[in-house]
Symmetry: C2
């Protein structure tokens, strides 16, 4: 029987800890506050930002969605972020992606100051990750951090294991490669230009798919030994309009040792990581 890596119980456990931590911060007159910058009204972005707000409030933190007109000028957009960067009451700030076309050339990594960059996109935070500085004050990108937490809490060892990550984005693939390398995994970063992808995916211990292609990874990508762990980062819509992952779950679920479902796998862990980073940012400010 394959182990289904639902994140609900892990999330529940961590949430309990975050609530206690938040309470203790509030008792020290620190009120963790997140600003989520949302430009325009992309339907998926509306859902994602609402979920982030809901979870922050659940643990006792303050979260404001800063909704900006989709035609906002670059100057006004930058001004809004700069004000948040300087706001003493705000501990974390994230920019919901994607940005509208006229802002999409901006490098989000350089917009939010590193101390409030709870998304872990700032060069200093990525550098700390790459360097494995082991400073818990730095912020690790939320999805990679959530994937590691889920595996750790599910007793899936990564040290020495061969992990194949499909997808080389700055949000998942690349930072996850660094994070798992630092945790002693042997990581292969595969992508659209990879030759013999199936040979690679069949040969690894842990397969992470982060490419955004509905049901792309099917049984032909999986080892016959039924000993692989499959982590599905995809959040796609299939031909029937249903939410689905990068992995063809039904065709794969009985061929593996463990697999994350979509929804209910990696997705919720990303928000958990965000909240962890927000509380860390609040504690960092305390120690300044």
């Amino acid at each position: 029987m394959s182990q289904i890596l639902h994140s609900s119980s892990v999330k529940k456990l961590i949430t309990k800890g975050l609530k206690a931590e938040c309470k203790s911060l509030r008792e020290n007159n620190i009120f963790p506050q997140l600003k989520v910058i949302l430009v325009g009204s992309d339907p998926a972005s509306l859902i994602y930002t609402a979920n982030k707000k809901k979870y922050c409030e659940k643990i006792g933190a303050i979260c404001e969605i800063v909704a900006l007109d989709e035609k906002i000028s670059e100057a006004d957009f930058r001004k809004t972020i700069d004000q948040i960067n300087k706001d003493e009451l705000v501990h974390g700030c994230i920019i919901q992606l994607p940005l509208p076309k006229h802002l999409s050339h901006l490098d989000v990594g350089h917009l939010v100051v590193k101390e409030k960059d709870v998304d872990g996109f700032n060069p200093e935070n990525l550098y700390a990750l790459m360097r494995n500085g082991n400073d818990s004050k730095d912020f690790i990108s939320c999805t990679p951090k959530g994937i590691l937490t889920l595996m750790q809490e599910s007793q899936i060892a990564v040290a020495g294991k061969h992990v194949v990550i499909v997808g080389r984005s700055m949000i998942v693939g690349k930072p996850l490669a660094m994070l798992l390398t630092n945790h002693n995994a042997t990581v292969t970063l595969a992508h659209s230009q990879t030759e013999n992808l199936k040979t690679l995916t069949k040969s690894c211990d842990i397969l992470v798919s982060a490419i955004g292609k509905a049901n792309f990874i099917d049984e032909t990508y999986i080892s016959a030994n039924k000993n692989q762990v499959i982590i599905d980062v995809g959040m796609n819509t299939d031909a029937q309009g249903q939410l689905c992952g990068d992995v063809h779950y039904e065709r794969v679920v009985n061929l593996v040792s463990a697999i994350t479902p979509v929804p209910g796998g990696v997705g919720p862990m990303t928000i958990v990581s965000l909240a962890q980073n927000l509380l860390q940012a609040s504690k960092n400010k305390l120690s300044l």
Copy 2:
């Protein structure tokens, strides 16, 4: 017959271009200048810094070795670098590693300002590399850049190929993984904790060793198909006191399609990259 990837002819060709570029900069009253900070008198460091100075002068650039006492205080060490960071006449600054013990806790990536960081160790330069910003104004770490140049000039394609890099340092392994990923290679980063290393090294198209262990990679790590490219980054001393690489050259040379010798392979390319970065830094200043 295996192709021996001597860097001499590539170096000659690039040197010619660098000389012409340097001449043209001087005609515009830009005199490219590198400062090499050397603390103490480690014998290998003395040779490396002297080689860097010699090559810079060969192409027409100015290079000063700033020799500091091995007992210099951290404060004085930092002050020296700060002065160089502010010196309008200096275009590039590198810190020769290793530093003595009392300075080895310092993060060299944060010492030299990004505009003069011709070693490519600054967080902003590593971020640009990770992000594949394609901005030629950023500096790519010298050894990774030199390896890519050597392969490109030797008509060794990397796109789509599976590259296994052994060694996950911040100077070679990690930045090289990012650089080759950006050039569409499929990169596996292996290291001391990798299980089944030989299976991995035998299965790849291109094997890069950067671990600093004399003659570690022997015929047992190599595919029987004689179709692999071997890049040896090691600069070690063997039991007989001879300079040697990570790869047992004699045992491997006839089992591969191409291999870099040590010395005369990757090593000289690192200095070429450094000079390229220095001239780039000088040109960047022109355009400011």
